[in-house]
């Protein structure tokens, strides 16, 4: 399914912000979700911030963070293992690559059940935040 290039325009629930459309090519989203480039240092700050939830599951090169999760691969070397576009799709909707994954889809609003009122109709991260994090992950080359 995800091997075919597809132009996705996810449905926008009433009152919710519309998601930026994006195209999946192979196992990647090659084009950025925003016009402005992601900011590496903002991306790092987001990844280590507990509220972004990454380090609940992942560990990585974040010596200042005492508590890191061990539910998921270490993020060190992500930039060696994956291209920018591959990392973008993993953040936007990891379940397209592995339907059984526990990694949340950070830029998706459809196909979810019983989302709490506070979060309903909103993606976990904004397009800008995704781009910042992708820009940072690309720099993780061990």
């Amino acid at each position: 399914m995800w091997l075919a290039a597809a132009l996705l325009t996810p449905p926008a629930p009433a009152g919710a912000q519309a998601l930026q459309p994006y195209a999946v090519v192979g196992d990647a989203i090659p084009e950025p979700l925003t016009n402005a480039r992601g900011d590496i240092s903002r991306g790092r700050a987001l990844v280590v911030e507990r509220s972004s939830t990454c380090i609940l599951c992942h560990s990585g090169p974040f010596p200042e963070q005492k508590f890191q999760g061990d539910l998921a691969p270490d993020l060190s070397g992500s930039g060696n293992r994956w291209s920018e576009g591959q990392l973008r799709l993993r953040l936007v909707d990891a379940s397209r690559l592995n339907a059984a994954t526990i990694m949340p889809s950070y830029y998706r609003v459809d196909g979810l059940t019983r989302v709490g009122a506070l979060w309903r109709g909103k993606p976990i991260l904004s397009a800008e935040q995704i781009e910042d994090i992708v820009a940072y992950l690309v720099t993780l080359r061990e």
Binding site: C57, F67, I102, P104, T113, G116, K122
Partner: protein, 257 residues
């Protein structure tokens, strides 16, 4: 045997969703994941903050309330005798409503029907104290919840909820508590989610809290809509979890980080 029937029914309904259940021999209480000092706090009555609620519960047990002017003790005598081994079967089937009710709801049904008093709010100091008192009388006894065959369809519903992915994070209880209980979510041990210690004192809460409070916290944690206190779904989850913990000793009042 009756219990096996309940489990079989549960498996039938839930069907293919299932991750493997944790084998009996590998079942571990949240207690076993804790640091030594927190374990000592639970084990030592003089250090366990939950005992303050148990003591309060004894006072309330003997206090006459409601328009019937009766205390719990007027019907049940000394809780140390009459409440022994009661908590190990909750949630239990309630004939009046035809549904399972948990220990808090049982206490409140005594208040409305027998004491003719207003029900105590969920998570109120009084309700937690009375629940802690009753649960404490089963400390060390093996959990038996689910033996009543009338509970089978409700256990099945609870299991379905447990297996269902939900919320903005799209996670099921089973994704953490069956598939990843040996791992850590940032600093926290995930545990197998056995409700052996409730009501329990949570250091993070700085208070005693009910199992429903804990479940609502996990549901909000995955950014799903938490069920209201007393909602049938929460009781069904409690029921499934308690039936899943059968054979494990009740620890109430427990302590958790």
């Amino acid at each position: 045997m009756r219990f096996l029937g309940a489990i079989a029914a549960a498996l039938l309904v839930a069907g293919a969703v299932g991750a493997a259940e944790i084998p009996q021999a590998d079942r571990r209480s949240g207690y076993s994941f804790m640091k030594p000092d927190t374990k000592t706090m639970q084990d030592d009555d003089t250090a366990n903050p939950g005992m303050l609620w148990v003591l309060d519960g004894e006072t309330l047990w003997n206090r006459k309330v409601g328009s019937a002017g009766k205390a719990c003790a007027d019907c049940h005598g000394n809780a140390r005798n009459s409440m022994k081994g009661v908590a190990i079967s909750y949630p239990a089937f309630d004939k009046a409503t035809g549904r399972p009710i948990d220990l808090e709801q049982r206490i409140n049904s005594c208040r409305t029907n027998h004491q003719q008093a207003t029900p105590l709010p969920f998570e109120s100091r009084e309700l937690l104290a009375l629940t802690a008192l009753v649960a404490r009388q089963s400390q060390g006894a093996s959990i038996e919840t689910g033996a009543d065959p009338q509970l089978a369809p409700f256990i099945a519903k609870g299991r379905e909820l447990y297996m269902q992915r939900q919320g903005q994070f799209n996670l099921a209880c089973a994704n953490c508590h069956d598939d990843n209980w040996d791992k850590r979510l940032a600093g926290a041990a995930i545990t197998q989610g056995h409700p052996t210690g409730y009501p329990l004192y949570r250091l993070e809460w700085q208070s005693l809290g009910s199992l429903q409070r804990r479940l609502r916290a996990c549901i909000t944690g995955i950014r799903a809509q938490a069920y209201d206190y007393g909602a049938p779904e929460l009781v069904e989850l409690e029921l499934y979890l308690m039936s899943r913990a059968r054979g494990m000793p009740l620890e109430a009042p427990g302590v958790r980080p």
